[in-house]
Amino acid sequence: MDRNSNAYTFIFAIILVAVVASALAFAATNLQPAQAENVKQEKMQNILATVGIETTRDSAEALFNKYIVEQVALNDQGKERTDVDAFTVDLKKELKKPVEEQAYPLYVADVEGSQYYIVPLRGKGLWDAIWGYVALKDDVNTIKGAVFDHKGETPGLGAEITQGWFKKRFDDEKIMDESGNFIGVSVAKGYQGGDNKDDNAVDAIAGATITGDGVTDMISERLQRYLPYFKEKTNVKVAMQ
């Protein structure tokens, strides 16, 4: 057959694409379980990191089972939902559903007698999705720790939200003002507050304004969904005292 004819070119292209596609499909299917396991362990590591427990990937599962005492999924009214498994909730898919159908996962950690509530976050950065976890102390006002991750933020600028020094700025920040109204934590450009923990704001990263705003929005948007549940929790506590 003439190698320069159209028919030959088409047949060659079709065969090539079919072979390549099946090879890739085969590889992707076979590697999927190992990849899913990695993602799961990373999620556990991130959740544990918010309460100050650093782990290796291998020990993540054991420590997760040790410290995370409760995993619940809430509905938009702050009531527990029994029909979904909190750990497997995919926030990306969840947030596309109507509000009444969304499930909000919440992890409760118990570290040496102190209880923490860990809330998964998800929002938009400059280029793509950003996500993370934030842990609240049992007054449901003070942040114990936070981790952030991103898909495609600019290395050196927006991508710096994953760095330790940026995450540290959130430690001990308050999410409510003095009279108990929910405010969240804003990532403020030109922040003058230094180490001040009572102003609901942290210093932004120079050159990453939009990613920083994304973090601000993500924290306030996600946390306020849990307010009904937290109110109930604090009421219980007040009543007990």
């Binding site: 030959y8 694409v17 590889a27 590697l31 190992a34 990849q35 990695n38 990373e42 495609g152």
Partner: protein, 232 residues
């Protein structure tokens, strides 16, 4: 008619030339395929290809080594596949065919890394994808694999990837050592140095210093081998 026959015969000789040559698996010519790209024909310092990834992933040794292995795998196999198909590929779509083969191999490497070296794959995610556009890969396919036998192409791929890897690892070595005082994540500069006032040079961790390091390597290489210096 006679002329036509003659040219056909020549074509046949050209086609067979690399299979006809009888020489050992690592004969002189084959050894040259491996060693040339390491020194006098280095893809980074002499041909100045693949610079972008060399700047981006040389902050630490580990990602540089993983990237080197990934590029080596992609280059060896893509060179072999294209060389094996070289008499079947319609010349009008040869660039697309090369891209499909390289892209498929890169996706495979990315999937394998994600399954078995997850942390590194996260660090390298963007750059592994960019192997597709690494000038060295396409350059070797176009310049070598389309005209040479499978085994030679394999050696050429390994050789060029090794030349790339050599520079990458060298740059990463200096950047991690001087920038963070570590090698492969282990502290190597003794504590007593810091007590005497030694400080890590944070500038080494920024991309511009990779360019300068590559520049110094090029300078050293050309001052040792003056034939590499371009004449105006």
């Amino acid at each position: 008619m006679a002329q036509n026959k003659e040219s056909k015969k020549q074509g046949l000789i050209l086609f067979l030339s690399d299979t006809e040559e009888r020489e050992g698996l690592l004969g002189k010519k084959n050894r040259k395929l491996l060693s040339d790209p390491l020194t006098d024909n280095n893809p980074i310092t002499v041909q100045v290809l693949g610079i972008c990834s060399a700047l981006a992933i040389t902050v630490q040794l580990k990602p540089a080594i993983v990237m080197s292995i990934a590029v080596m795998a992609v280059m060896a196999f893509s060179n072999m596949i294209i060389s094996a198909l070289r008499n079947l590929i319609p010349s009008r779509i040869r660039i697309i065919v090369q891209l499909v083969v390289v892209a498929a191999l890169v996706i495979l490497v990315d999937q394998v890394l994600r399954a078995y070296a997850y942390d590194v794959s996260k660090e390298l995610s963007v750059f592994v994808g960019l192997i597709i556009t690494n000038c060295i890969v396409m350059g070797r396919l176009e310049a070598f694999a389309l005209g040479n036998g499978v085994y030679k192409s394999f050696l050429d791929g390994i050789g060029n990837a090794a030349g790339y890897a050599f520079i990458l690892i060298l740059v990463a070595f200096f950047r991690e050592l001087l920038g963070a005082g570590k090698l492969l994540g282990f502290e190597v500069i003794p504590e007593s140095f810091y007590e005497f006032g030694y400080e890590n040079n944070g500038l080494m961790l920024l991309s511009p210093m990779a360019l300068i390091t590559v520049g110094i390597i090029i300078w050293v290489q050309r001052s040792r081998n003056r034939t590499l210096i371009e004449q105006n």
